[in-house]
Each structure stands twice: as structure tokens, then as C-alpha cells.
């Protein structure tokens, strides 16, 4: 699911060139993807990603995931419990990542992109049973700025509701190529690639979005690389964001994002699949 794209070079080019490169890069990185899948498969049992391991190629989640209806959350309490078991922790990103403060969002709110392309915290829609956002950081070190990371898990009442959330995410990048995250933080030149399960080599979820853009911050400068991954399976969506910083390569950011996303998808499966 990685998108190793020479975004910087394409930055001043035509948007069409950009979307071409992005879509081609994301769904076309077959070799990278293969690696990721193998990791996923190899870590299904331990429910914790192991970047070094994994030569075995297990069945793809799409083919093997048979949910146990009894394990699917139906109440807000069950949904919150489910999120606790699935959402990424610092370890999910790899070594060195720590919690940021505030670590967890107010569960009574979730972010909504307004008509003015500014993100606001609002009360979740009725279709949302529960949602949680966590914030992380790979701290600054010699010559390198801090990498700000986020993870979101949302439990909807139905699969259709989750699919609509994915549709809205695509709409957001279409109507707001530049977005204000909060005062002093902007992301621009946003482009999203979307792959349904089975398209290209996407087999880790029913629907997968990869978004990238340029991150600009009054605190950290920029533009830096911005990466966002969102996936939907059943009534759930999981997402990870990564914001670049001085001295951090695009590859570093993408790897962190992919690691955490893979970890959550693996946990999600083991949390709902039928236990034989």
C-alpha cells in the first residue's frame, strides 16, 4: 500500500501529471505491496507487525476473512471496546514512536471538513457507533524534526455507512485540495488514489484510499511530505496520517504510516473473524 512517488518533482507540474504519477505509483508498486502483504500474512497470528519477518504467503485477508456476527459490535459500549483492541499504539509504528499529548481525542467528537476547507471537531453522525483518534510522534533527533502521526478507528452501524465515509473522504480531497488542519497547519496539493478490494493488487481491505500532499506548518516549516491511508472493511474504517519534517524522507513517513495501518488491519481481522 505504499506510495513512493517523486511528489516533489511533480509539484509544479500539471495536476494531471501528478494524479498519473500518484495513481500509478500507489497501485503499481506491486513489489512493495507484495512485501507488505507477506508481512501482514506472517503476522496475522501474533497480531503485531514484524518488519523483518515473513517469507510465507498466507491467504489474502479478503479471501480469508469470515466475520463472526457475534463478534461484530452493535452497541456504543461494544464499539468502544472494539476500538481499544484495534487502534494503533506507539509500537504499531515501529521503534521510537511515543504518545503525544493529548493522546486520545474526545470520543464525543470527530473531525469534519467544513465548506470552507477547515477541519473542525463536531459531534459524530448518527451512523457512527464510536470513533477514536490517537496522536503520536517520532521525536526530533540530530538534524531531523519530529514526525507527527495519527491513527483513527471508526465503528459504523452498518457496512454501507462505512462505505459512505470512504466516499466522503474522496470527496473531501476533490473539493478541498488545500485543507487547514488547525491554526497554523495546512496541507495542500492533495491527491487521493482509491482501490477497491481486488483492484490492482489491493487485497488487504474492501476499500483503500491513499492520499498524499504537502504539509506546511508554522511550527515545523515545510513543505514536507504528507501521507494518509484509510481503509474500510465491514462496518469499520481505520486511518493513519503522517506529517513530514525537516530531515525526514518521504520513504520514512510512508513506512511509518504503512506499518501502523497494517497493524490495525491485522488486529481488526483477528477481532472479528470466526474462530474455529
Amino acid at each position: 500500500m505504499t506510495c513512493h512517488v517523486p511528489l516533489r518533482g511533480a509539484r509544479y507540474g500539471l495536476p494531471l501529471a501528478l494524479v498519473t504519477v500518484l495513481l500509478a505509483g500507489c497501485s503499481g508498486a506491486a513489489d512493495d505491496r507484495g512485501e507488505t502483504e507477506k508481512r501482514d500474512a506472517s503476522t496475522r497470528a501474533s497480531a503485531s507487525p514484524d518488519p523483518g519477518g515473513g517469507t510465507g504467503s498466507g491467504p489474502s485477508p479478503e479471501q480469508s476473512l469470515v466475520p463472526d456476527p457475534a463478534r461484530l459490535p452493535k452497541t456504543r459500549a461494544e464499539a468502544r471496546d472494539f476500538i481499544d483492541r484495534v487502534i494503533a499504539g506507539p509500537d504499531s509504528f515501529g521503534p521510537g514512536v511515543v504518545k503525544r499529548s493529548p493522546y486520545e481525542s474526545d470520543p464525543a467528537t470527530w473531525p469534519v471538513l467544513g465548506e470552507d476547507c477547515v477541519w473542525q471537531q463536531q459531534k459524530p453522525a448518527y451512523s457512527v457507533l464510536a470513533t477514536l483518534t490517537r496522536s503520536f510522534e517520532l521525536p526530533a533527533e540530530q538534524g531531523k524534526g519530529p514526525v507527527r502521526l495519527g491513527a483513527v478507528v471508526t465503528v459504523h452501524r452498518t457496512r454501507e455507512d462505512a462505505a459512505w465515509e470512504m466516499a466522503e473522504s474522496i470527496e473531501e480531497s476533490m473539493r478541498c485540495p488545500t485543507q487547514q488542519l488547525r491554526e497554523g497547519e495546512l496541507i495542500g496539493s492533495m491527491v487521493a488514489a482509491a482501490l477497491l478490494g481486488g483492484e490492482a493488487t489491493q487485497t488487504t481491505s474492501e476499500d483503500s484510499l491513499s492520499e498524499m500532499g504537502q504539509y506546511q506548518s508554522s511550527e515545523l516549516g515545510g513543505p514536507h511530505h504528507y501521507a494518509w491511508q484509510q481503509a474500510q472493511t465491514l462496518q469499520f474504517t481505520v486511518a493513519v496520517t503522517g506529517k513530514g519534517a525537516k530531515g525526514r524522507t518521504q520513504r520514512e513517513i510512508d513506512d511509518l504510516v504503512v506499518q501502523a495501518q497494517a497493524a490495525m488491519l491485522v488486529r481488526l481481522e483477528s477481532a472479528v473473524e470466526k474462530q474455529s
Partner: protein, 726 residues
């Protein structure tokens, strides 16, 4: 074709059996399909013969010899097992009527057709004889006709008990009326016997009658031995003289098959060209080939309404049987359908005309995109015909078609098969996006240039060897003329864009790119909406689009969704410009949308049969196939022409170099990687567009496209789409 019987095996030697083509004294002939998807006729010997050691020795020797028969005018043996409990021999399956069937239907053929037939079948026989075999049953039922020339089937394997006639004095091997006198007398005929039979066959083709009459077997055999042949009605002196020599009673007086080739008039082209047969015969062949090419439907359970007309079951069975041949080592549809093959290559005679290379067509011939796949096959064939018809070409080209059925797994196997075939220099296709994605690895590994005109995603993996060319604008590129068409008019300020995820990547890429490009190309704005796959209620989203003052609408999704949106817009009396992608065009949209389809427009990467630049091609297409070219045919014609031109240029350059350095250069065939490089650097003026490729991703440079509008329930061609700025 008959169904398999409970006692029939399910598989034989890597073939899944599909049905019975025929049965004879020696065994049963099945239609089978290899795991790679090729159809084959498989003759399986009955156990009672298999147990006979003499028989097995002979079968072993004949099968071995048959594998050495190397002629474009004889079906090739694709596999054999001479040692197993049930020995078998498989040949390719050729989709075409037999000569017998064609003459029975339309009467005698013109002299020119008969002469070409004679020359090419003489070559086939020469190859059979050179392999140490005698056919012993040359007759109209054992010759299949294709537009590219005849194919001799069933050459002499395990004949004895199959082709026999009971006479007063015993059994005769062969078919009375086409037997040489020595065989009619009960003796064994040698190669000269085949030449006599060829003479009978040609006389039959020229007059519509066997030259020794019909009726009682004994009477026919008697006339064969004692009477002069009946050649009344053959006025051409040259042909008559030729037949007289072939039909000499004394085997020693007949020319050898190899010599016959040179005895036939000089003005006959070395290979058959499309016009070697009268137009009505070509049409019969085209119809029947089309019916036979639908063969892989045999194991499908559903046939669709908008495909080519299906022949009645009885007819199809007959055709199959005819094509398989009564004793049938016939066959091929899906597999190698060879066209316009010249004499066997390998430089036997050293003449440049002896070299023949193959352009593969990797198409969906029987799956969801079969209309496009078949159109592309036809376009490629016409390009090859045209190339071969020009004098002084350094080589000749043939077409080999493999069907991926639109299935990615099959597509990968098709690519492997093309990659393995050393004669294949380049491939046109695949038809569909998924099929293309699945095929890329095999083509790239073999550095085999592959040019698709209809797989238009921009998300194909970049491959190491860069042999994949997208020779049409991508879905994303096509959104530029779409945006121009919708917004460059005074009454449109805002474009409503609806991406329906049911349309997959095709829709996503077009809708997303249209949204990105609108502010770049125009002063207008967009209102984008996205709905999940499976959405059936579009009223809220359409209402939202209109309430946000969308003056024009682009629906990026599938045909069913487009029809629903069209109906809602009609109910709301929306009359602004509205478009969908070319992938939506077709009967499904027109039928489901009904009158609401009127006024919808489409930007297409394919040109139209009515476009002026296409006129000559369209006329040739009508002549050859009896119908106007369908969408995608002109584009396949273009890229096949591009490949042919680059091949010729490379071959010429190599020949000059070889002459200069006076060193032999093998068969002079350019390597696949040299051809890949030449295509990458080429600029080619086609009838649909100019072809040149972007260095990095080898996608088409330029976005020439065409415009259609639905009027009164039909797609009407409007002309070239508005050119994007820049």
C-alpha cells in the same frame, strides 16, 4: 459436436475435453482445451488398437513424422502420447468450413481461387511427403478454408481403419472419387497418389463435381482406373493442363508435389491474400469462423444478447464437425488462427519472401469485451493483409490470435504462450484493463513488445524492460476533452462530477482527473460527489448536484448507474450538457435509460467508421468482413501497421549491415528488445491518430479523441472531440 459420454475421460494429456468431434474405427476425436486455453482436436486411439504392437509402432513413427510436417498450409501437431495406455495425438483446431462444404453451398470456385488452392496445397503435400508421410486421403472434406489460405488436415496418421470403403473385392483405404487408381485397385499408394487426389480435389473445386463421378462405389473406382477424368467446364488451358498431369493414370507420369508449386502460373502470389477467394466465399468463411470462434462458449452456461448472432445449434454442430473433419485431426479456434502464412520459414530457399513473422493478437474474444476484442483482431488482420500485399517487403507477416476471455488468470497464460513462441515479434492487446495488468509480467520478462489500444488505466506497474505501450489516451487523459466539451460554452459555469465507485478504476481515474483539470483548463468550478459501489438510489445525490447549481454533469461510473442518473435528470427536466465515459456506451445504457438517453454525449478514444480518414480502411474492412469496422478496429489496424513498419525498417537496416560486412545474419529477424526500442522512439501517422510514446511510462503522447451523442436512441458520431489547450 456431441456431448461427452459418461465413459469418456475428463482430461487427456493436459487437455480438458469439451466434446466429441467424431468417431471412427481407430478411435474418437475430441475437442479439448489446453490449460493455456488453446483448443485442440485430439484423436484418441481405441484400446483394442493400442494393444496391437504393430499398430503402436506405426502410430509412433507416424506421430513422430507428423510433428516434422512444417507448412503453414497444414495443421500442426501440438502434442502426442504414443506410449500410454490410450495413445493420442493433438493438432491445432482451425475455425473454417471445409472446401467440400463451401463448394456444396456456393458452387464451383473461379480459376484464380482454384489455382491458388492448388499451389498452396501442393506445398502442404510437399511438406507431408518431406516428413516421410503419405496422406492417402486428400479430399475436399480434409481441407479447411480460412481467409488466409487453405489448411490440409488429417495427414496420414492411424488411417487404416478410419477411412475405408467397402467394395465388392474388399476394403479400400481412402475416399472413393478422390482415390488414385493404384489405391482403387487395392494397392498401396505412395506420394504420387496424393498428387492424383489433389488433382481430383482441384477438379471438384473448379467444376463442383468429382472428376470420376459419384454413385456406386465400385463404379466410381472402375472409372477412376479406366476412364478419362471429366473436366468439362474448365476452360483455362493452364489449369486444364495441370490437372491432366496430376490425373495421369501412371504414378510415374505425375509431377511431385514440390514440383507442382513451380508448375503453377507465375502470376499467382507466393502467399494467399485476402482476395484469393470471391467475396461471397470470404463472407461464408468469416461467418463460420465467427461462429467457431464463439466456441469457448461451449462450457459457458449463459450467452448474451448483444454478441454476434449465434448459429442454430444444429448448424453449429455441423460446422464443428465439418471443421473438425470427418476423421479429423482438425482444428483451432481460439488458438492459433493463422492468416496469410507464407511457405515455411527457416530460409529454405533463401528468398526474402520465405521469411514470416507473427504479430500476436491478445484479445477478449468471448468475454465481456468481446466486441472490442474481435474488432481489434479484424483491424490487426487488415493491417497485416495490407503489409503483405505490398511488393518488395523483406518478410511477410502472419497473425496469431489468443483469447483471454477477459479473465486475468487466462490472460497471464496467454501472455506466457506468446512469450514462448519465438516467431511472435510483437503483440496487439490485451483488450481489458485487468487482463492487461495480469499479462504484463510475462511480456515484460520476455521483452516482447505489447501494444494495447483499449486498456487505458494509468495505474499499470512500471516494468523493468518497458515493453508495454498504451497506444490510446488513458481514462484520465480522456477527461480533458470531456471537461472542454462540457465547460467551454457560455451557459456552463459549474460542472457537477459524480464518481460512482461501481465503475472501478476506470470511473475513479476519469472523475478524479476531470475534477483536477477543470480549474486548469477553464474558468469554471466543480461540485464533486462520490457514491459507494452498489448505490441504486441516486435521487439525493443528483438533487444535491443540481442544487449546487451544476450546469453540466459528468457521471463517472457504470452503464446501469448512468441509466439511473439519466432517468432522474430527465424527470427533473435537466437539459444541460451531460456526459459519461465511453465504457458506458452500448445497448445496456440505451435500453435502461430509454428516451432519457437522448442528448447524453461521450468522448471516445476510438474513431468512427464514418470519419473521413478511415474511409479507405472501412472499405477494405467491408470487403473482407462484410461489415463496417466496429469500435477499436481502426486503432488495432494502426498499431499493427506501426509494428510492421518498425519491423521492416529494422530488417532493412540489418540487411544493409550484413551486406556491408558480408556476414550471414541468421534469418534477419530483429530482436524483441530492438523492436521495443524502435516502437518507443517511433512516430506513426495512423488513421485514428498520430502515435508517439512518452519516454517514461510509454503512454501515448497526445489526446486525440472523438465525440458521440445519443440521438433517438442511437449513438451518433459527431466528429473529433474538442482539442485541449496545451
Amino acid at each position: 459436436m456431441d456431448d461427452l459420454r459418461p465413459t469418456d475421460p475428463a482430461r487427456i494429456g493436459g487437455h480438458r475435453l469439451l466434446g466429441r468431434l467424431g468417431a471412427g474405427g481407430m478411435g474418437v476425436v475430441y475437442l479439448g482445451r489446453t490449460d493455456a486455453g488453446a483448443l485442440a482436436a485430439i484423436k484418441v486411439i481405441l484400446p483394442e488398437h493400442a494393444g496391437d504392437e504393430d499398430f503402436r509402432t506405426r502410430f509412433r513413427r507416424e506421430a513422430e513424422a507428423a510433428r516434422r510436417v512444417d507448412s503453414p498450409w497444414a495443421v500442426s501437431v501440438t502434442g502426442a502420447d504414443t506410449e500410454g495406455e490410450r495413445p493420442w495425438l493433438a493438432t491445432e483446431f482451425v475455425p473454417g468450413p471445409t472446401l467440400f462444404d463451401v463448394v456444396a453451398r456456393r458452387g464451383p470456385l473461379p480459376v484464380r481461387s482454384v489455382t491458388v488452392l492448388g499451389r498452396l496445397l501442393a506445398r502442404a503435400l510437399a511438406a507431408v511427403h518431406a516428413a516421410g508421410l503419405v496422406h492417402r486421403d486428400v479430399k475436399p472434406g480434409n481441407v479447411l478454408l480460412t481467409a488466409g489460405g487453405p489448411r490440409l488436415i488429417d495427414f496420414g496418421i492411424a488411417r487404416t481403419a478410419d477411412a475405408t470403403a467397402l467394395t465388392a473385392t474388399g476394403l479400400v483405404v481412402g475416399t472413393p472419387g478422390f482415390l488414385p487408381p493404384e489405391q482403387a485397385s487395392g494397392n498401396t499408394a505412395g506420394p504420387a497418389g496424393d498428387v492424383f487426389s489433389l488433382g481430383c480435389l482441384l477438379a471438384y473445386a473448379a467444376t463442383g463435381r468429382p472428376p470420376f463421378g459419384g454413385g456406386a462405389v465400385d463404379a466410381v473406382l472402375y472409372r477412376t482406373v479406366h476412364d478419362a477424368p471429366d473436366l468439362d467446364g474448365i476452360d483455362d488451358a493452364h489449369l486444364r493442363a495441370l490437372l491432366d498431369r496430376c490425373l495421369a493414370k501412371d504414378p510415374g507420369d505425375r509431377p511431385a508435389a514440390a514440383a507442382l508449386d513451380t508448375l503453377i502460373a507465375e502470376d499467382v502470389p507466393a502467399g494467399a491474400t485476402a482476395d484469393w477467394l470471391p467475396e461471397d466465399v470470404a463472407r461464408i468463411i468469416a461467418e463460420r469462423s465467427a461462429a467457431l470462434l464463439a466456441l469457448p462458449d461451449i462450457d459457458a452456461t449463459v450467452t448474451e444478447g448483444h454478441g454476434p448472432p449465434e448459429p442454430a445449434p444444429g448448424r453449429r454442430r455441423f460446422l464443428l464437425f465439418a471443421a473438425g473433419g470427418a476423421v479429423a485431426l482438425g482444428a483451432s479456434a481460439f488458438a492459433a488462427v493463422r492468416l496469410t502464412r507464407d511457405e515455411s520459414d527457416g530460409g529454405g530457399d533463401g528468398a526474402p519472401g520465405g521469411r514470416r513473422w507473427i504479430i500476436g493478437v491478445h484479445a477478449d474474444l468471448t468475454g465481456p469485451l468481446r466486441a472490442a476484442g474481435r474488432a481489434q483482431e479484424r483491424g490487426a488482420r487488415l493491417a497485416v493483409d495490407r503489409f503483405n500485399s505490398l511488393d518488395d517487403q523483406p518478410f511477410r507477416l502472419a497473425v496469431k490470435v489468443l483469447d483471454d476471455q477477459g479473465d486475468p488468470a487466462r490472460s497471464a497464460r496467454v501472455a506466457e504462450e506468446f512469450a514462448r513462441d519465438p516467431e511472435v515479434v510483437a503483440v496487439i492487446g490485451p483488450t481489458g484493463d485487468e487482463a492487461a495488468g495480469a499479462a504484463l509480467a510475462a511480456y515484460d520478462e520476455a521483452v516482447l513488445p505489447v501494444l494495447t489500444v483499449s486498456a487505458l488505466q494509468i495505474a499499470f506497474p512500471a516494468r523493468a524492460n518497458g515493453s508495454f505501450f498504451q497506444a490510446a489516451p488513458s481514462y484520465a487523459s480522456l477527461s480533458l476533452p470531456i471537461v472542454n466539451r462540457l465547460l467551454l460554452r457560455p451557459d456552463v459555469e459549474r460542472l457537477g462530477i459524480l464518481i460512482d465507485r461501481a465503475g472501478g478504476q476506470t470511473a475513479y481515474q476519469a472523475g478524479y482527473a476531470a475534477n483536477l483539470m477543470t480549474p486548469q483548463l477553464t474558468t469554471g468550478t466543480t461540485h464533486p460527489r462520490v457514491v459507494p459501489a452498489g448505490t441504486t438510489v441516486f435521487d439525493p445525490v443528483v438533487t444535491d448536484l443540481l442544487s449546487h447549481r451544476s450546469d453540466a454533469l459528468f457521471y463517472a461510473g457504470d452503464a446501469a448507474g448512468a441509466a439511473r442518473v439519466a432517468r432522474i435528470l430527465a424527470d427533473l427536466s435537466f437539459t444541460g450538457p451531460r456526459m459519461a465515459q465511453h465504457t458506458v456506451m452500448g445497448p445496456e445504457f440505451l435500453e435502461q435509460a430509454g428516451a432519457a438517453a437522448d442528448g447524453w454525449e461521450f468522448v471516445t478514444p476510438f474513431t468512427d467508421a464514418g470519419a473521413p480518414a478511415v474511409a479507405t480502411f472501412a472499405a477494405a474492412h467491408r470487403k473482407r468482413f462484410g461489415a463496417a469496422p466496429a469500435a477499436w478496429s481502426a486503432e488495432a489496424y494502426d498499431v499493427a501497421g506501426l509494428v510492421a513498419r518498425e519491423l521492416a525498417a529494422l530488417t532493412d537496416a540489418a540487411a544493409k549491415k550484413a551486406t556491408a560486412s558480408a556476414t550471414p545474419s541468421g534469418d534477419g529477424r530483429p530482436t524483441r528488445s530492438a523492436l521495443t526500442a524502435a516502437i518507443a522512439a517511433a512516430r506513426y501517422e495512423g488513421i485514428s491518430r498520430t502515435y508517439a510514446f512518452d519516454e517514461k511510462r510509454q503512454q501515448l503522447v497526445g489526446r486525440d479523441a472523438y465525440l458521440y451523442r445519443v440521438e433517438k436512441g442511437r449513438h451518433r458520431y459527431l466528429g473529433p472531440a474538442p482539442k485541449p489547450k496545451s
